[in-house]
Symmetry: C2
Subunit: 547 residues, 2 copies
């Protein structure tokens, strides 16, 4: 057996969210590839107009005939959300456990992409090309989170996916520590592991600890109670329903994504002891002190149910003085301002707000430091490869792994190919990586021309000038002008028009200029007016037409 | 004495930052006004291209002949930063204590605005129109923070400004609780008070508590140490220098704003026992284990010293493996992502990062709940008017005031005029308020046409089409097109050109259309191509020229 075993992240190594992990086996040029997860992340002000952002899969798409399959560790958006966008470029079989498969199929129903999705059981063992895979059940803020033991002729990798060690996960079993210990005892070459909460001391806390707290909080409420959480957190839905029932309240769902996850969960036997949730219109008819409404929108998303309720624009649900909203979710960094705006809107309605700042209403799904230490003790890898973190998280995680006596730790950002074996682990190659933005109907590069143009327009405004010249180089018609993002109501473009006319006149007096030279003189003259009067340097182009 | 005493916030009531408070005395129509503070806030993605944001002073600018003066409580940007931009519209005398006056004069040196700045002493008492003012020294994260007791014939208002109760402020005296108690005993009609940290339990902690902690942290460092904090926090500069000296290190400053505050402080007798800070070029020559560099840039600002150092672009200072950066400042909400990018850059250099998450390196300058309670016990106002907070902070503050036995609490957002007396406090009028953005050389409305145009361009891209028609309505030249933010490298505009040509042809076959109608057909045709091919709806305009 010649060749190497390599790990290559194209997403998620250098950021939290947007995972795309590759494992390659064999000699360079003949490597066969396994992909683990294919997720999205959300855009920010640097990607104006984009819906979601995902890894650029160009490197593996160019080698797709040697891509043996894609395995999904779990059903969070940052692990499977890019499948509808990118699968056509990959064309490989997709492997998922039942719940994850249900969630993915619902997403694919909305697009015209039909990958083969092979259902694999929890704790299943199966082969994809040269990779022998065993799923190991962990716990996380969604049903069916899996680590994958990837056995190869050059050694075993434990890819953890997202996880925590929750002694009371509410939905699904506890983490299969026996399996982790067994694989560890067989010998693990490398562990590729979640870094999200490496700066958080202690343990993440148990999902089961929330029932008493939520029951108490809801018991103290007099009006309507709305609880917002992540739709995929099925255990949280069960806990909220139980806390509501303990207070003689019925629970409904508001928001499409919640209904989809509820359906996917029940389809797979989860929520079996939780009565069917009421629909939005049904819950709207309950007496205010008998209702709990679980809503989408914990991050302040303007299209989600809670924002529409707060703005008074929801068809069935209103909130008013005396009602309570519980934010049972973490604040994703970058969403602080949107969440604050939402909470201010709710405050204006007289609604009381409960958050994890003041009450126990949320626990994280990712391992804090004590759990990471426990995982290293169970698995005992020779090499630690932190992923699912920004650089500062991955570096801290590598330090923690070394403190746990792991002999080697490699910090590799997206595009860095890590040789796991044979020999010492090392970054052996850097391959192209990048980000794509879903923009309207297509995917565009985040650092491409279209996005760059938008960012330029954003800061400087846009100016387009049309000048029509006759054969003598004289204006055949008055100049026309579009100024976007530059003029206030009532402000006139006359000084620009005058400058353009003067530029045409003066260029006519020079030695005969070609059209490009005249256009450039016009461009400089028009732009100068904005710079001098307004202090702005608009993105300026000139349509010079000769008739 | 007829008329009323009113309070009218135009900035800062509904947001943290950008303060503009007005007090009016007399019958409506003859009211004489006092302004307290005139600050800025920082723009975000919703104000593309803007440098800073400030309150729209139109209401008071229209009445400036009855604006008697502007008093500045302290020298933070959100309290005086708008003076250089707005004073010409107000033309009133400005009152400030010595340090605040020094800071303001340095800002005004950069612009051509020369208000009369009347220096008033700490604890000074002076009259502005019908208002009898007494300054009361408090503590805050800057020298010379003042509350103002505003005495009128209709009662006394205590306007707190920004404050905390710090038993060891390092620079300046402790808060003058005797004066607060004395004014309280005279009887206070209303207290207009800082809400920033109303959700924070306990007390804010003392500036003096940082010396031991910073001395210990720096003592544990082997390489160069950089500390980033707010430039205006003169006490922090003194503490950092003392912690450096205790470890046999010299301290330098990197960043223009730090040098300006250092100069303003020393000019007024502060930092007298702190040796002169080294300049950037001097500190660059010190042995790495003998240097502490205080840097601007705690919020990740790309133009500040720390970002330039992290990017390797600073002329005199570098950081490398083994060095440490201490973030001795809070994270201003909205800056999380920029700070994370900065910290990741530093991590990539091998620099260790210390933040308030892991060590005692910062205390807030605003009152936590226990301090608010103590202030209400000292002042005992009849009416509480929370300011300097988002709505959720102000509502929580009003609840806390009621818990403190304050008989009335009024939550008033920007533009809400509160009658403080005579009679029950109430919002009696709503006046126009808004925000202006400093944009190039001028101020534009945040919700005006120029900003709206930029936001539209941002999400959709911009398309401008030029068609030149002859007198028969035929194209006299090929159409020209500018598409900004729409096409990727190598993508061609041919389909759009073809659609434009077809639109001109087909409109030529209809009953004679006027130019506007043809232009509209061209606009719709061009836009449709982008919608159908790319799924985008660009902001589209057409320059139709008839020759």
């Amino acid at each position: 057996m010649s060749g190497e075993l390599v790990f290559l992240p194209l997403g998620g190594a250098g950021e939290i969210g947007m995972n795309l992990n590759l494992y390659g086996f064999g000699p360079p040029g003949e490597r066969r590839w396994l992909m683990v997860d294919l997720g999205v992340t959300f855009g920010d002000a640097a990607q104006p107009g984009a819906d979601v952002i995902m890894p650029d899969p160009a490197f593996i798409a160019e080698r797709r005939e040697r891509l043996e399959g894609l395995v999904l560790t779990h059903a969070h958006e940052d692990h499977l959300g890019a499948v509808p966008y990118l699968w056509e470029r990959l064309q490989c079989p997709v492997y998922a456990t039942p719940f994850t498969r249900s969630v993915l199929k619902r997403k694919l129903d909305e697009v015209e992409v039909s990958p083969e999705i092979i259902e694999v059981p929890m704790s299943g063992r199966f082969t994809i090309g040269p990779f022998d895979l065993e799923l190991i059940t962990l716990t996380h803020s969604i049903p069916e989170p899996n680590a994958i033991a990837i056995r190869t002729a050059l050694g075993t990798v434990l890819h953890t996916g997202d996880w925590k060690l929750d002694p009371g996960p509410v939905v699904g079993p506890v983490a299969d520590e026996d399996a982790l210990r067994r694989v560890g005892s067989e010998g693990v070459l490398a562990m590729v592991c979640d870094s999200t909460n490496v700066f958080v001391p202690g343990a993440s806390g148990s999902e089961s600890g929330l029932l008493a707290s939520l029951t108490g909080i809801i018991g103290g409420c007099e009006g309507r109670v709305a609880v917002t959480c992540f739709s995929s957190n099925v255990a949280r839905l069960e806990t909220i329903a139980a806390a509501a029932a303990a207070n003689d309240r019925n629970t409904g769902l508001a928001g499409r994504s919640l209904r989809r996850f509820d359906a996917a969960a029940r389809e797979n036997g989860y929520l079996a002891s939780t009565p069917a949730f009421l629909a939005e219109d049904e819950v709207g008819f309950l007496p205010r002190d008998k209702a709990v409404i679980i809503c989408t929108g914990s991050q302040g998303d303007p299209r989600a149910a809670l924002k529409r309720i707060a703005d008074g624009g929801h068809a069935h649900v209103t909130l008013e003085e005396g009602d309570t909203v519980i934010f049972s979710a973490r604040v994703i960094p970058g969403n602080e301002a949107a969440i604050a705006r939402l909470q201010n809107r709710l405050t204006a309605l007289g609604v009381r707000i409960v958050t994890e700042r003041d009450h126990l209403v949320h626990v994280s799904g990712h391992p804090a430091r004590d759990e990471l230490v426990e995982m290293y003790q169970l698995v005992r890898p020779r090499i630690a490869v932190p992923v699912h973190g920004e650089l500062r998280h991955m570096v801290e995680h590598a330090n923690l792994a070394r403190d746990c006596q792991v002999p080697e730790a490699v910090v590799a950002e997206n595009g860095a190919m890590v040789r796991l074996g044979p020999g010492r682990a090392a970054i052996v190659e850097r391959v192209p990586s990048g980000r794509l933005a879903a923009d309207g109907k297509r995917l565009i590069k985040v650092d491409g021309e279209a996005m760059r143009g938008r960012r330029r327009a954003l800061f400087n405004g846009v100016l387009v000038v049309t000048v029509v010249l006759d054969s003598d180089g004289m204006l055949a018609a008055p100049p026309r002008l579009t100024a976007l993002g530059l003029l206030e109501e009532g402000e006139m473009a006359e000084p620009v028009i005058a400058a353009v006319e003067e530029a045409v006149r003066s260029s006519g007096k020079k030695a005969p200029l070609d059209d490009d030279a005249v256009a450039e003189e016009v461009r400089i003259a028009a732009r100068r007016v904005f710079r001098e009067i307004y202090g702005k340097k608009p993105v300026t182009s000139v349509h010079l037409v000769r008739v």
